[in-house]
């Protein structure tokens, strides 16, 4: 997600030595055993990725991924290049531009890329419309039974189309997920327990707003469309609200949806910094790092900076937890994972697939984890070396196991646009929550009819 761009200098210590052989020399020891006991299948699946890397000298693939700090895939692809001789052409683009380029190149099967990184909200469209290749045949050819049990189950769901049950269309290799962050020093000061429900979040937030000078209780991204939706989803789900029923009937103006939006607006009005309706990542992180706000949902890249003295005035004061939920609400933070996929028309799909196995394998994910980029494998999350360097990975792992993903519908971009404009408008006071949600409901019914989900 966009949040990754923010972890700029979060790791002043250099990334793992560029020559990966030094860190991961004997693959057998470098790869911790998969946590699940009957390891026969899992080990067999992990082995080809870690053990016998193929010789790919003389071959060349073009891969595309978003620009970020730390840079995803850069170190991994260098390591793979060193071990197999495969040559990489790297196309690194800013987030928004990557999407526009992929849209054109993938939909028109230009063959420009052999492998690309895909953000999870783009997946329904890319997967359902055949923009990327089905991966089951590749796994079969490699003698593998799909994604092994070391992957956190939700990330396997996300890799399939339809989600959870269908064919493997991508490999989820980057477990970006929201975490609930709170100032534990202030909780202690007021003798409060870490909030478990959104009501408790509100109580803590108002306490801070009233008692602390120049401080606010909760910071959120309220800028229209994607930022607002990302910030609102944990509250929406936490109130037991859902966007659709099982038959894709929109539920945006249900009682629970309204309760959630009214809560969000109240939380903003009474406890948040002024102007949250136009806040994006920059404003929220600034508010957290400067010690101005006491709580927020944060992304892993931000969590890495909370305790970085060169950027944060609040080192050591933060607690991390799973997303709160109202009694009866399922709760759950939102996933913003990244997947690896092979575009339709790729010229070197086989070599690209070998690289995908490596990048999503224990060795590749470990390289990322050392840089502060979250993995999707439990074994990497539990690696003591990584936990020692990045203690907040424990919270990422916890959240990832109960996290939720955005609805897997092919017109998600359109639905997000309708929803994200209106909730931002309610947050700013331009619209009442009720009017805003009625508008969303009407618009989304239209969109679902247009896309053929509803008659």
């Amino acid at each position: 997600m966009a949040g990754l761009a923010l972890s700029a200098a979060c790791a002043p210590t250099p990334a793992p030595p560029a020559a990966p052989a030094a860190t991961a020399a004997p693959p057998a020891t470098a790869v911790p055993a998969a946590p699940v006991a009957p390891a026969a299948a899992a080990a067999a699946a992990a082995k080809p990725a870690a053990g016998a890397l193929p010789d790919l000298k003389g071959k060349e693939i073009t891969i595309s991924y978003p620009r970020g700090e730390p840079q995803q895939l850069e170190e991994i692809s260098k390591a793979f290049e060193a071990q197999t001789g495969l040559k990489f052409n790297r196309v690194v683009l800013p987030y928004g531009e990557l999407y526009d380029k992929l849209l054109i190149n993938l939909s028109q099967s230009t063959g420009a890329y052999d492998m690309t990184v895909v953000d999870d909200p783009w997946c329904p469209q890319f997967f359902s419309k055949g923009y990327v290749q089905e991966l089951d045949p590749f796994f079969e050819k490699a003698g593998l039974k799909g994604l092994d049990s070391d992957f956190v189950p939700r990330t396997v769901d996300l890799s399939k189309w339809p989600a959870g049950t269908g064919k493997i269309m991508g490999i989820d290799f980057l477990g970006n997920v929201q975490l609930y962050a709170y100032r534990k020093d202030l909780l202690e000061k007021y003798g409060m327990q870490p909030p478990k429900t959104w009501d408790e979040v509100f109580q803590f937030a108002s306490m801070v707003k009233q008692k602390e000078s120049e401080m606010y209780g909760y910071a959120m991204r309220g800028k229209a469309v994607n930022p607002a939706v990302s910030a609102f989803m944990p509250i929406f789900w936490g109130h037991g609200a859902e966007m659709f029923d099982d038959n894709y009937n929109p539920l945006f103006n249900s009682e629970k949806s309204l309760a959630a939006l009214e809560f969000w607006v109240k939380l903003a009005k009474e406890t948040a910094p002024p102007g949250v309706a136009t806040f994006d990542s920059i404003e929220v992180t600034r508010s957290l790092f400067s010690g101005e706000s006491a709580q927020s949902m944060v992304w892993p890249a931000w969590a890495g900076v909370l305790d970085d003295p060169s950027q944060s005035k609040t080192v050591g004061k933060w607690g991390l937890g799973v997303a709160p939920a109202q009694p009866g609400g399922k709760g759950g933070s939102m996933m913003g994972n990244w997947l690896l996929a092979i575009p339709q028309g790729a010229k070197n799909a086989d070599a690209a697939f070998q690289f995908m196995l490596f990048a999503s394998g224990p060795e590749g994910q470990r390289i990322h984890a050392m840089q502060g980029i979250p993995p999707t494998r439990s074994s990497v999350f539990q690696d003591p070396d990584i936990l020692a360097k990045r203690p907040y990975f424990k919270s990422i792992h916890e959240n990832l196991q109960v996290a939720r993903y955005r609805p897997r519908i092919t017109n998600w971009g359109a639905v997000e646009n309708a929803f994200g404009t209106q909730i931002s408008s309610a947050l700013s006071g331009e619209n009442s929550p009720k009017d805003a949600l009625n508008t969303v409901q009407r618009d989304v019914v239209e969109l679902m009819k247009k896309e053929g989900y509803l008659k």
């Binding site: 993938l106 939909s107 028109q108 419309k129 002024p274 028309g345 404009t421 408008s425 331009e430 619209n431």
Partner: protein, 285 residues
């Protein structure tokens, strides 16, 4: 054979202008889908136009915002630019310094300007609110209050592009013949009479061209809004192009986005025709 020299220019014009315009018009009557290896069109008649005009509240919101923006920037930039040009044309030394100073905003990329204003408008750390606070006034949510966001973008644009109007009008003023002014002096005209009856009529062709340029350019405002407010809060500062961009590249409804583009094109052509008529009408007098 002379026409052969026109061929390269015509080819470029046809491929870069006519083709996109025609395909937009074609798209606007279709539902457009990007399928693997193809752009799939299915005709739906006037549905896209009907949706824009009668169903999509945001379309009218965006149209209203765009009209507000155009009116704001055209009126204020013209007044400020004209005022500056009149003063500066009288003073040679001012002209030397002020002209190069005023060029600075013009040569800066719009995105940089927008980011600079974003910082100035910042609620907590912005210079503007700092100044208000130190005067004992309460700070203002320049970009996050629904009723202020659009005005704030207009102010940034006025700062950015008034110098453009100024430069063109200054050039226009300096090119005016001197005789009518001498005649007016001899007849004992007051400065106001000279301005109203001599300067303004003589300057009007240039003035109308500037108005036309600023109107068309203002109607296409995107970068400042994209950077400064993202169209928000809610839809309170969404512009037409911002709405079209979202419908095309985020919602992926290329047909609908094309229909709105065509509607916008028609309005702009109408405005251009009116302006051009005005210019030509004056000249033929």
């Amino acid at each position: 054979m002379e026409w052969l020299f026109l061929v390269p220019a015509m080819v470029i014009l046809l491929t870069l202008v006519l083709f996109p315009v025609l395909s937009s018009i074609l798209f606007s009557f279709n539902r457009v889908e990007l399928r693997p290896g193809a752009v799939a069109l299915s005709p739906i008649g006037l549905d896209n136009y009907q949706h824009a005009l009668f169903e999509d509240g945001t379309f009218w919101k965006a149209a209203g915002n765009t009209a507000f923006f155009v009116a704001g920037v055209v009126i204020f930039e013209t007044l400020i630019g004209l005022g500056l040009a009149l003063v500066v044309s009288q003073h040679a030394r001012l002209r030397r310094y002020l002209t190069s100073l005023l060029l600075i905003p013009l040569v800066m990329p719009p995105v940089v300007i927008s980011l600079a204003w974003l910082t100035l408008y910042d609620f907590r750390g912005g210079v503007i609110n700092w100044a208000l606070r130190s005067l004992g006034l309460s700070p203002v949510q320049w970009l996050s209050a629904p009723n202020l966001a659009m005005q704030s973008v207009v102010i940034a644009d006025i700062w950015h592009l008034s110098p453009f109007v100024f430069l063109i009008l200054l050039a226009g003023l300096q090119a005016l013949p001197i005789e009518p002014f001498e005649a007016a002096d001899i007849d004992g005209a007051t400065p106001w009479q000279k301005f109203r009856d001599v300067t303004l009529p003589l300057l009007s062709p240039v003035l109308l061209v500037v108005l036309l340029l600023r109107t068309i350019d203002g109607a296409r405002v995107f970068d400042k809004i994209y950077v400064m407010t993202g169209g928000g809060p809610g839809t309170s500062s969404i512009s037409m192009i911002m709405h079209i961009y979202r419908q095309a590249f985020r919602v992926l409804d290329f047909g609908y986005a094309s229909a709105m583009s065509v509607l916008m094109l028609m309005v702009l052509i109408l405005l251009a025709v009116i302006y051009v008529r005005l210019v030509l009408g004056r000249q033929s007098l």
